[in-house]
């Protein structure tokens, strides 16, 4: 495995091949926890790994240097998939000082007993000289936690970006040019949609700051290292941080006896116009992870639910709760669905669409018990309307482009 980023800068993390549920994020391709070792006159460990893999991390470090030679452990983020091994690491590296920002130490102190650790607090612009190389810190609050930070090595034009630009992708290869690029970009998009999407404004701010840095390589905390294609992932983030729409219509629904299902298929049929991509997802047959990944660049959305107990179906509620938390911006949408004797489903859906500040294109499209032929015609027309609107919103973007070509 090629684990060398630059002379004496190595990946020392671990590959989690079999993880398939990452706090509800479905990781079909596994994950990695990336940590890096920078050896110079002083030696720095950039981040640790999830707690069960602590020994593997220490073995990887020991292959490269004596544990007592590690002078610094930089913690760019307090979340357990990266900081979980800190207690074991700090006890095993006797000379090491923990380097992190003020908020990070406060957070770590609520998770672990950090009282015995040597610590050095850093803020944006601070530097730690290692010898030929310098570590320079960039606080990135809310990308994606309050204490999140990047570490930049100006002499190597190398950015340790923590979770930013990351992907859940287990592989025996560590670099972007050693794996199928389209696959890792898809995983990067899925990661963005499911983890980073609420923080578009902060991401835009960070991209502006990063624009002022000379960057040739981006080493995130998950997945492959952007050694050949850092410009590609930065371009992608510029699109994703504003949920830049494609000419794409997304129809998502849940159904009890297929009435809402029939309406959903009719809407999708109407939306299947030239110049547009239409996608139909059933809430209980698609994972939340996939639904979020399809929403991010959809221009228009139809969300449907049958009526159950005067409200919407529970898993439709789960999907909308999840999406509302992710704050996808700038979409246009409408609610639809069926009811029996009392309304409730589509109306409850619409409240979520409004809470996400989406443009509501029409009042809820309803059917009682079974959608009559006129109702299905109305669904097809509404689908066509979604397609026209999607084309307008997407400008000259083409439908169905590979993420490599048009992220």
């Amino acid at each position: 495995m090629d684990t060398t980023l630059r002379q004496d800068i190595d990946w020392v993390g671990c590959v989690d091949w079999t993880i398939r549920d990452f706090h509800s994020y479905k990781t079909e391709r596994g994950a990695t926890y990336n940590a890096y070792l920078v050896r110079d006159d002083k030696t720095a460990l950039i981040d640790t790994v999830k707690a069960p893999y602590a020994e593997e991390l220490l073995e990887n470090i020991a292959r490269l240097t004596e544990l007592a030679e590690v002078d610094y452990v930089v913690c760019n983020h307090a979340e357990p998939d990266h900081a979980g091994s800190l207690p074991r690491v700090m006890e095993s590296l006797p000379s090491a000082t923990l380097v992190c920002d003020k908020k990070c130490l406060a957070t770590l102190s609520k998770c672990f007993d950090a009282s015995g650790w040597k610590t050095e607090i850093v803020a944006s612009g601070d530097t730690i000289p290692l010898g030929k190389r310098t570590l320079q810190f960039v606080e990135t609050p809310m990308v994606h936690w309050p204490e999140s930070m990047f570490t930049y090595v100006p002499e190597e034009k190398l950015l340790f970006s923590m979770d930013a630009f990351g992907q859940h992708y287990a592989s025996s290869q560590r670099f972007d040019d050693e794996v199928p690029l389209c696959t890792v970009l898809e995983e990067a998009k899925t990661y963005y949609a499911n983890i980073v999407m609420p923080y578009g404004k902060q991401v835009a701010g960070v991209l502006e700051q990063a624009g002022g840095l000379d960057i040739e390589m981006i080493a995130p905390s998950h997945g492959v290292i952007w050694r050949t294609h850092p410009a590609k992932i930065i371009e992608a983030y510029k699109n994703w941080c504003v949920c830049r729409p494609k000419p794409k219509v997304l129809v998502v629904y849940d159904t009890m006896w297929e009435s809402t299902g029939r309406m959903a298929r009719a809407i999708c049929e109407g939306a299947s116009q030239p110049g547009v991509e239409a996608v139909l997802l059933h809430v209980r047959r698609s994972h939340l992870t996939r639904i979020a990944a399809e929403v991010i660049d959809a221009a228009t959305v139809a969300f449907g639910s049958a009526t159950l107990n005067r409200g919407m179906m529970p898993m439709a509620g789960a999907a909308l709760t999840y999406l509302k938390g992710l704050q996808p911006t700038g979409k246009a949408a409408f609610a639809f669905g069926s009811y029996g004797w009392g309304r409730g489903g589509p109306e409850a859906v619409q409240k979520y669409l409004e809470a996400m500040k989406w443009e509501i294109l029409r009042e809820p499209l309803r059917a009682q018990y079974r959608p009559a032929p006129e109702v299905l015609d109305e669904c097809r027309e509404a689908g066509k309307m979604l397609a026209e609107k999607a084309k307008q919103m997407a400008g000259d973007r083409k439908p169905g482009q590979n993420v490599c070509v048009d992220p």
């Binding site: 908020k103 609050p141 809310m142 309050p146 404004k201 902060q202």
Partner: protein, 53 residues
């Protein structure tokens, strides 16, 4: 008027602008914000704000 910055995420409250989407009129000093005011970016409470430079 004194601006206040959220210690958690860095969002700034500018009294001159207020926060119309939360019903806070332009010209409302920070001290006059309701006790249950939350940072629109990250949800932090009033006690997480500090005077901005």
């Amino acid at each position: 008027m004194q601006k206040y910055v959220c210690d958690i995420c860095g969002w700034t409250y500018d009294p001159a602008a207020g926060l119309p989407e939360q019903g806070i009129e332009p010209g409302t000093p920070f001290e006059d914000l309701p006790d249950d005011f939350e940072c629109p970016e990250c949800g932090a409470g009033k006690d997480a704000f500090s005077p901005a430079d």
